[in-house]
Amino acid sequence: MGNAAIRTEGLSKRFGRVVALDGLDLSVEEGEIFGFLGPNGAGKSTTIRLLLHLIRPTAGSAWIMGVPVADVERAHGHLSYVPGDVSLWPQLTGLEILTYLGNLSGAVDLAFRDELVERLRLDPGLRARSYSKGNRQKIALVAAFMTRPDVLLLDEPTAGLDPLMEAEFQALAREAAARGQTVFLSSHILDEVEDLCHRVAILREGRLVEIAALADLRRLGSTVFEAVLDGPVPELADLPGVTAVEPTDGGVRVSVTGPPAAVLARLADAGLVRLRSREPTLEEIFLTYYEATPAQREAVAAAHGSRPAQVNDGEGGAPQ
């Protein structure tokens, strides 16, 4: 450790009057699986394209394995890339595309390439134009992993993959990290991030709003209390530390940052029947960072409400 695989200093990008990325300072260690999160349009793909030097920064600098990204011939010798939207040469077969991209990179371990093709259940004998989105994604994944690069820049790599292939991808990412390769993973799929990543950065409107280990994020986050009350729900929103209040069946769900004493006292006065506390789910943490509107929060809660894991997990919750 100690050597930064990816480093940025004040990295900024404007498109006309739109600020896509604003002063990003980032350092990703070798061998790390780093999650890069943020809502659509937050600047995730812009960051990755800046790291690849496909677009030029308005200000700031970036390095891959200590090489300035502008020196693409050296920097790209260290990395591979899976774009968010994979475009392939429609007339070429999958195998021809892998051969071409392999030739551009130099040495490719053909046995390893074939193993990847096998593991991702890719049929490389077809013309690319007949590939579905998932299959195009697989070509890009094989092409990225086959050179065993020091740094993998992955822009939503599992979009379009079925759950089985998603699991295979996670295994590949873990193996890569175990070999000392660095994985930079932009994603929307929080389960995937939770399962894979050591650290995450959260980007919003082009600015870095948080960068932390997942465990720390949870600790920093609020505690969720679910109370069943024998009586009307008291006013809670005015109490210190309360970040969200939602009515539930026969009670209330309240999120609190910091000491919960005042909230607990008021709930006790309101005829508390039962109280459960739990750590917030990753979704809840991210929604606070993403600054979702209450209606969006509710929609997410409704979408996940049916999942028993989140309701029953509670009870003081053993931190993972």
Partner: protein, 549 residues
């Protein structure tokens, strides 16, 4: 369920799909949006070109005497082959229909086939058509709607020309007739492209096939007009229908009927063929599985060569076929020129004999080959742009490949491929002259064609500069520059345009090789400017962001 769900309207309520043809109207609006800018620009361009033609005619041939002299052009075989048979050229309208008509029909016809390929195959190839076909709209009907939109766009262009002609006082009847015929001509090639769009899975193939038909029809017209005995062949080609139309004096209604009926027929065939195939599929579908070939995958330049071979073969065949026809008719043409006392006088004034006249004519024909070479070079730089716009360049440049290495590969390929077409055209030209019995050697034909290469180098520079600075304009603007430059040299000198305007055209600086000796200074200057523009363009490309379509 929840309150929000209860408040939202029931599915389909308030949207009376299936009634009132809303899907058709929506598609028509969408397609109209896609073509309106191009249509507007083209209408303005052809209107301006027509106006220039009319006023140049009125200025150059103000009286009956000068117009009578013009009538001697009637029998010039070269002009008959290229521009068609002059008719009523003692009237401004008749002159424009003959002198400018072939340019107008070519430009509007090629635009029509490209636009049709884009709407009927490009939208499908990109997957966007599926969004449209998810609405209550059958595929055949969607083709019909797109064809209707194209017909409207083509009519606008034809009307623009007709209005200019009528306003300039060439006669309302003839103007309407010519505008209508121009629209019918363009619609015919839109119909051809509509059919090839059903036959091929990729847009490039579909428009390529339609362009091949266009080229073939032009060659048929050249042969048909090369001698009176072959005149019947005019009825085999839309170019011939335009020749037969005679809009400004004694119009032939059969020609107009052909120009209006054939597009309808072709459109109906296209709709019928569309119903017979799957969305995304084609009548001549290639199998999805094939044996992988590892050849020419070693690097960006080799890969670009691999990707471009098919189209290059098409260009070589097309340009060589044109050169062959020119060569094979060279003797007939120059014999006729030599027999004309008026021309002989002109030649004597220039100090030329008949052999030199042959060579001068060869040089004039080679200039058009030079234009084709320049157009190929512009298209070829555009192919590099397409690679970027489609997002495929990301795959290449995310590897240890510098932008310069990638671009230089494409540039060398452009130069090599242009040379290849030039040499093939020279050989075809020479083969044609040998068969036709003209007295020119292979060095003459090589010289005449290779002499035009500096123009191609210059236009490659223009295209590359655009690619670096304004990538979305790469092909459109460089092709516009090339065609304008050619037309300036074609029309300008005869109409005594100011020297400054003529000097702006690189074609104006070409020596009449092989009648004259090659001009080293202008060659070096043009090549130098071309190389400078390439350097600036490449530097701009290295500094800018990659951009999508």
């Amino acid at each position: 369920m929840t309150a929000t769900a209860a408040e939202s309207p029931a599915p389909g309520a308030g949207v009376p799909y299936g009634r009132g043809r809303r899907a058709e109207v929506a598609l028509a609006r969408l397609s109209a949006r896609l073509v309106r800018r191009g249509t507007g620009l083209l209408a303005l361009t052809v209107a301006a070109y027509t106006a220039v033609e009319v006023f140049s005619y009125l200025g150059t041939y103000p009286d009956a005497a000068s117009r009578a002299r013009l009538a001697t052009l009637q029998d010039n075989p070269a002009l008959r082959m290229l521009q068609g048979i002059p008719h009523a050229i003692d009237t401004p309208g008749g002159f424009v229909a003959w002198d400018g008509g072939w340019v107008l029909v070519s430009v509007v016809g090629i635009w029509a086939l490209l636009t049709t390929g884009r709407l009927l195959r490009g939208e499908e190839e990109s997957g966007r058509a599926e969004l449209v076909l998810a609405s209550p709209l059958r595929a055949g009907r969607a083709v019909l709607v797109d064809l209707a939109v194209l017909a409207c766009a083509i009519t606008v262009v034809g009307a623009a020309v007709a209005v200019v002609l009528a306003t300039a006082g060439t006669g309302a009847g003839g103007s309407v007739l010519f505008g209508l015929a121009l629209a019918g001509f363009a619609a015919t090639f839109a119909g051809v492209a509509a059919i090839t769009a059903q036959a091929f899975e990729v847009r490039r193939r579909a428009t390529g096939a339609a362009a091949a038909v266009f080229g073939l029809m032009f060659l048929v017209r050249m042969l048909a007009n090369s001698s009176d005995s072959r005149g019947w062949a005019r009825w085999l080609t839309p170019f011939g229908w335009m020749d037969e139309l005679h809009p400004y004096r004694d119009p032939r209604w059969q020609a107009l009927a052909a120009l209006l009926a054939v597009p309808v027929l072709l459109g109906a065939v296209a709709v019928r063929l569309r119903r017979a195939r799957d969305t995304g599929g084609a009548l001549l579908a290639e199998p999805d599985r094939r044996t992988s070939r590892a050849r020419l995958l070693g690097g960006p330049a080799a890969f670009a060569w691999r990707s471009t071979r098919g189209v290059l073969i098409g260009w070589v065949i097309g340009v060589a076929a044109y050169a062959f026809v020119i060569g094979s008719t060279l003797r007939t043409v120059t014999d006729l020129i030599a027999d004309d006392p008026a021309y002989r006088k002109v030649l004597q004034a220039l100090g030329w004999d008949a052999a030199q006249a042959t060579k001068a004519y060869l040089s004039i024909m080679a200039a058009l080959i030079g234009l084709l070479l320049a157009l190929y070079a512009c298209w070829r730089i555009g192919a590099a742009r397409t690679e970027e716009a489609a997002g495929r360049l990301d795959n290449t440049l995310a590897r240890p490949v510098s932008r310069r290495r990638w671009l230089v590969g494409h540039l060398l390929l452009t130069v090599a491929a242009t040379m290849l077409i030039a040499v093939a055209a020279s050989l075809a030209l020479w083969t044609g002259t040998a068969i036709g019995g003209a007295d020119v050697g292979i060095t003459d034909t090589l010289g005449s064609v290779l002499n035009t290469l500096p123009v191609a180098v210059l236009l490659t520079g223009v295209a590359l500069l655009l690619y670096g600075a304004r990538p979305r304009l790469t092909v459109a603007a460089s092709v516009a520059v090339a065609v304008t430059a050619y037309l300036v040299q074609l029309i300008g000198p005869a109409l005594h345009w100011p020297r400054g305007v003529l000097d702006a055209s690189p074609f104006h600086h070409l020596a009449t090789v092989p009648a004259e000796s090659f001009a080293p200074v202008s060659t070096v200057v043009m090549t130098g400017i071309g190389l400078a523009l390439m350097t600036v363009g490449a530097a701009a490309f290295e500094r800018r962001d990659l951009t999508g379509a």
